[in-house]
């Protein structure tokens, strides 16, 4: 019974984090067709930002969160404007520009904070005992915050005019342009939104993980698996895919022998199997006509 609750908690948290990351990644892919390898690097930057604000400056974590999201959004928009936009026509160049950007962010962070493992204390101390299993308040808080942001994002995309513009650009860039949507501005805005989501995820996650400059690589792979599993550009797919893989990881970690080594491979095998049956992912839109 205790094991079950452990699995559920861990699956929900993994899933929510992956969902936040994957939806951001999916948004910018849908709108601008950019595979942003630096997506989780921004998440890492936000986590460090929290560390600086709460540990070194001694301010409250809420300020840290606000600062992290603002800084990372700004950083994302600047890099989009000066690094990605000039070479957007060249797909390959954009690809390695984002990889190089992730490397740069990692190196800058390890220069400033060295490569040592850091940690940030939980926002709320303590834990509740549910059926004789310790569930930390911080876990509940992270989960709640993730759900809240997901709901807010849903309303933003579905109910506002900008959300409509983003969705229509993702569906068909040329027609959206013809309808008077400023495609370049929407792309820039989406980049900010997407990276801001990554920053928020970093801020939520940081008390639960250790902080180190290489922390972006693991989530990057899982996030991509989620996006592919759910179907590229599909927000619903990313959401459901994230929980599928989040729970898979939790199940493997708690139940299988050598689970910690096998959690990634098992999740990725599930992705490959799903793709074999549905090449466009669970909820993917087929991009067949884009030749």
């Amino acid at each position: 019974m205790g094991l079950l609750i452990d699995i559920i908690m861990s699956g929900l948290i993994n899933g929510s984090i992956l969902a936040l990351l994957a939806i951001g990644f999916s948004l910018i892919f849908g709108v601008a067709r950019i595979i942003n390898f630096a997506h989780t690097a921004f998440y890492m930057v936000a986590a460090y930002c929290i560390y600086v604000v709460t540990q070194q400056m001694g301010l409250h974590a809420v300020w840290g969160m606000i600062a992290a999201v603002l800084l990372v959004t700004l950083l994302g928009m600047i890099t989009y404007k000066f690094l990605i936009n000039p070479i957007r026509e060249h797909e390959g160049a954009v690809l390695i520009a984002t990889i190089a950007l992730a490397m740069i962010l990692q190196e800058v962070m390890s220069l400033i904070f060295t490569g040592t493992y850091l940690s940030v204390p939980a926002l709320i101390e303590g834990y509740a005992v549910i059926l004789s299993v310790k569930v930390f308040y911080q876990q509940l808080l992270s989960f709640g915050a993730a759900l809240l942001i997901l709901a807010a994002l849903y309303f933003f995309l579905m109910k506002t005019k900008i959300g409509l513009a983003i969705r229509s650009t993702a569906q068909d860039r040329e027609v959206a342009n013809l309808m008077g949507i400023n495609e370049a501005r929407v792309a820039m805005l989406t980049m900010g939104l997407s990276v801001g989501l990554a920053g928020f995820t970093g801020a939520v996650v940081v008390p639960l993980t250790v902080l180190e400059p290489g922390m972006w690589m693991g989530p990057l792979i899982m996030m991509m698996a989620v996006v592919v599993l759910g179907g590229l550009g599909s927000l619903k797919g990313s959401f459901i895919g994230a929980y599928i893989l989040g729970f898979t990881e939790a199940l493997v970690v708690f139940l299988a022998p050598m689970g910690a080594f096998l959690k990634g491979p098992v999740a990725l095998c599930i992705m490959i199997l799903v793709l074999l049956m549905r090449p466009e992912g669970l909820f993917g839109v087929s991009f067949e006509e884009e030749r």
Binding site: F29, I35, F37, L83, P86, I87, E89, H90, G92, A93, L95, I96, A97, I99, A100, L101, M103, I104, Q106, E107, V108, L111, M217, I221, M224, A225, V227, V228, L232, M258, F261, L262, G264, P265, V266, L268, C269, M271, I272, L275, L276, P279, E280, G281, G284, F287, R291
Partner: protein
Amino acid sequence: MDFILFHLKRLLTIVRNEVLVLPSRVAVIVFVLVMLLLPLVSRDPYLLRILVLTSIFAIFAASWDLLSGYTGQLNFGHALFFGVGAYGAAMLNLHAQIPPWGSIPLGAAAAVVAGLIVGIPSLRLRGTYLSLTTLAFPIVLMGLVFAFADFTGGELGVSGITRLATTRVGDYYVAVLLMLGLCFLMWKITDSNTGIIFHAIREDEIAVRAAGINTTRYKLLAFSLSGFFAGIAGGLYAHFMRIAGPSTLEVSLSFTVVIWAIFGGVVTIYGPVGAVFVLFPLLEVLRIVQDYRTLLFAGVVLVILLYMPDGLFPWLREKIEKECPRCKVRNIATRHTCRICTASLD
């Protein structure tokens, strides 16, 4: 006697009329000669070591170009082939005592199988789906390597493998000759009819299929060829470093090969090879500023890309050579008329 003289004369004519007139071809000849004659000048083990590794990675980068550049099947998990080649060669050498000249090709054969295993599911996928799926394969294998640590050595890898050759200069010649030979072979493949079909698959797969060509077969061919060359590079690496560890399967290796190839310019074969010869030694030179090494490396890549989004070597070639508008023959940029058809070049 006459026969030999005739062919010598013919060779001289070809060299004079086809090679010496174009700076890019002269550069390639000079590069080959320098690589072959270098041990006569310097036998510094450190220098030779770097050049051996550079040659190995040059084969690797060119094999990525053969698959991803030519057929457009962007492979983000190319380290899989390298790792399978390395582990395959290492295991065969250690457990079956097969010497390097046997274990490296057999390891490469294992990599061909890996190529097919990746290739067959990938046939159903396109574009970004394909790239992100291929990324998963080396990670799955790496998880297995860690999970079955008794057999694979886990984090430490397989060590205690036979050396490539008995001396460092021997290593150097094995690696360099293989690099030159295999890259020439890859260039020949891409220059043949098969290469043209690879090009066409990238440009418009449906049109190729409409022309009655079995694209499935050609895509699998590209996967296995690329796997073979990358596997040889992996085997060479294992025998040179005398260890095959999980680092050969890492995501960062898959990313690095993409960086090399795109930096040098895809769909050229010479681009990725040249890029490795620029970037790998650059990373060694940057050791003098150890702390800023990766940062500077990434900075250089980023800045060069902003100015030359098609890659370094196509950009350079564009600068020193012009294509004749009438007969499409390449000319040195200083000429005003085409060397073949005398059409005006400007």
